[in-house]
Subunit: 396 residues, 2 copies
Amino acid sequence: MNFSFSDKIDGLKPSVIREILKFTSEPGMISLAAGNPAPEAFPAREVQEITADILSKEPVSALQYSVSEGYPRLRETLKQWLSRRYAVGQPYDDLIVVSGAQQGIELSAKVLLNEGDTLLCENPSFIGSLNAFRSYNVRLEGVPMEEDGLNLEALERIAGENPRTKLLYLIPNFQNPSGTTMSLEKRRAALEIAKKHNFIILEDNPYGDLRFEGEHIPAIKSMDTEGRVIYCGSFSKILAPGLRVGYVCAHKELISKITVAKQCSDVHTAILSQMICQRFLDQYDIDGHIAEIQQIYKKKCGLMIGEIEKKFHPSVKITHPQGGLFILATLPQGVDMLAFCQEAVRRHVAVVPGNAFLADESQPCSSFRLNFSTPTDQQIVEGISILGSLTYEMIP
Amino acid sequence: MNFSFSDKIDGLKPSVIREILKFTSEPGMISLAAGNPAPEAFPAREVQEITADILSKEPVSALQYSVSEGYPRLRETLKQWLSRRYAVGQPYDDLIVVSGAQQGIELSAKVLLNEGDTLLCENPSFIGSLNAFRSYNVRLEGVPMEEDGLNLEALERIAGENPRTKLLYLIPNFQNPSGTTMSLEKRRAALEIAKKHNFIILEDNPYGDLRFEGEHIPAIKSMDTEGRVIYCGSFSKILAPGLRVGYVCAHKELISKITVAKQCSDVHTAILSQMICQRFLDQYDIDGHIAEIQQIYKKKCGLMIGEIEKKFHPSVKITHPQGGLFILATLPQGVDMLAFCQEAVRRHVAVVPGNAFLADESQPCSSFRLNFSTPTDQQIVEGISILGSLTYEMIP
């Protein structure tokens, strides 16, 4: 039979990255395309201990239905953790546990945006979030990026041109895909522009704890005094993504609506996963664990940048992240980026074409995303070497 | 600041049941309001063994990102299980693992329905699903229920009156909240009406394995030859709801769209939860475990009905479920059902007012839902005794 799909879903394609990831499971493929944490950064032994303890002492709590707001002890722990680490959380705020920050982002869009409303985003930005917005028939307007975050003049202009702007989506730290970090000045200015044009900022901070260089820059949420910022965080990069645990901290009126939407979506987040996160935060040396991960990523990022400097054609520009998982490389004008990525895959190195991250994928793009967290050191060296040869072949 | 929410979410209230459940955690409250499996039915020891094994042998698989379609070994196992147990699964079908059947239902609505489209449902029906539909601004049309399922004349008439009908939502086995089971004839007839009016059937079967009396009736999906039926199932009632694992079996074109929507929603279902379900199905005596649960529920249901017959005013009518978790009780005309439920809570017995399950909650309703799976035997006896006294006080 012929199926007729909803307008909002009909045109939506699977994430290019997820499609590439399937492809990269081919033997011999060096994948620099993923966004996975380094497997050696998982606290596997600790999770094993914690889980055995939970299932022997509180099996029914771990297996029974729970409340949509999240495991109460995890919510308390997270509120304290966010306050201590990021000065996030005002008396008017509340917190909900979600099934990964992805769900926090999707539900924020669902509760705030009607079809046809405008959402502003960094251009490029994280495709998973962009697709979540598209799945509600929201109009995406990309704001050009600079080395220190959004171009503010463009933000001001685009917000002015789009009176139905409801939300600005930002990844201020070690952005995906660019790896860049928004400056303190720009964070403050973006909040002022949000006030002026009366839209809400959705601050996504999955990588904030992965800073391996430079000084911490305060979260936009920490500068907010009226509930204009929704803050999303995740255990995916500091503990394990397979658990699917994230959280949203926002004004309690927003959290109350997000909770209703979450009830409709999956009732609550897997409770065993939530209990593992709570125990890990409360009973283990989370700060020490994060410090270890930072060292792993610092080393991997340094290795990749060093190899790029040795092997890439000098006209290829790259970003220099101070944390996170990604580097964005940009080919000189006139070089066909898609052809470059396709030839790279033929030579068994996968990267993600940059247009996948654009608000409008059909726009011209010369960039591709490199991930340094998932590959081994040897794969980084070999992969960059193969890409390097290709830059010399394709750049005149 | 003042928040402006999307039209689809603005009017949505938290599920009455979830709100009552919070309330019922008060000490001394006898809750007959839940829909939780009996805690003694959880295979806690087996989950403990399986989890320890997974986390010692394959910690990285359990903790890393995975594919949106679901853990491949679980998908294979489920396809075989559904085929063997329910004759569900045609060559044109595919299967996706979701975060509980609730997510399967929500995503099915999202991919198929535009705002303003019509969805037909049993009246009464499961509030969690109704709220999921409402969260997409879908028009709900309730079809009256009889002892053996939908009133077919009403279905035919309402479908005819609503040309934008896209979906019919059914819980054919031991329906929530009524406890009734749709007859084979009505299943066949509903599929014919769906063909005639060209809508899709969303068959939700969370309780199908909990039959403790009578003969198995084939799933509507097993009668479908063209992909007109979406089938949703769950591990919540046969293993544990806290894991949040369900599945959708449907035509591969539908599954492909649901997969894209799931990517936007939570990337994938918690992988440790999925691995636990797969191991339990593959390596343990699932049929034996289900037979045990059936005996637990048969005993509890029998106890509750026996007590009702002894203690309730004879003019209160109840359904006699052959499985599942629920009995629906109906007060005689003229008795104020909401006042009855409120007075019951004051006497520390919680039940769910029946109007919570109506497509239009403002319609008059004389029913309330009783759950026999969660309370202990003693709570059933005491709770029904208190409600019984109340029936005599309130029925003239």
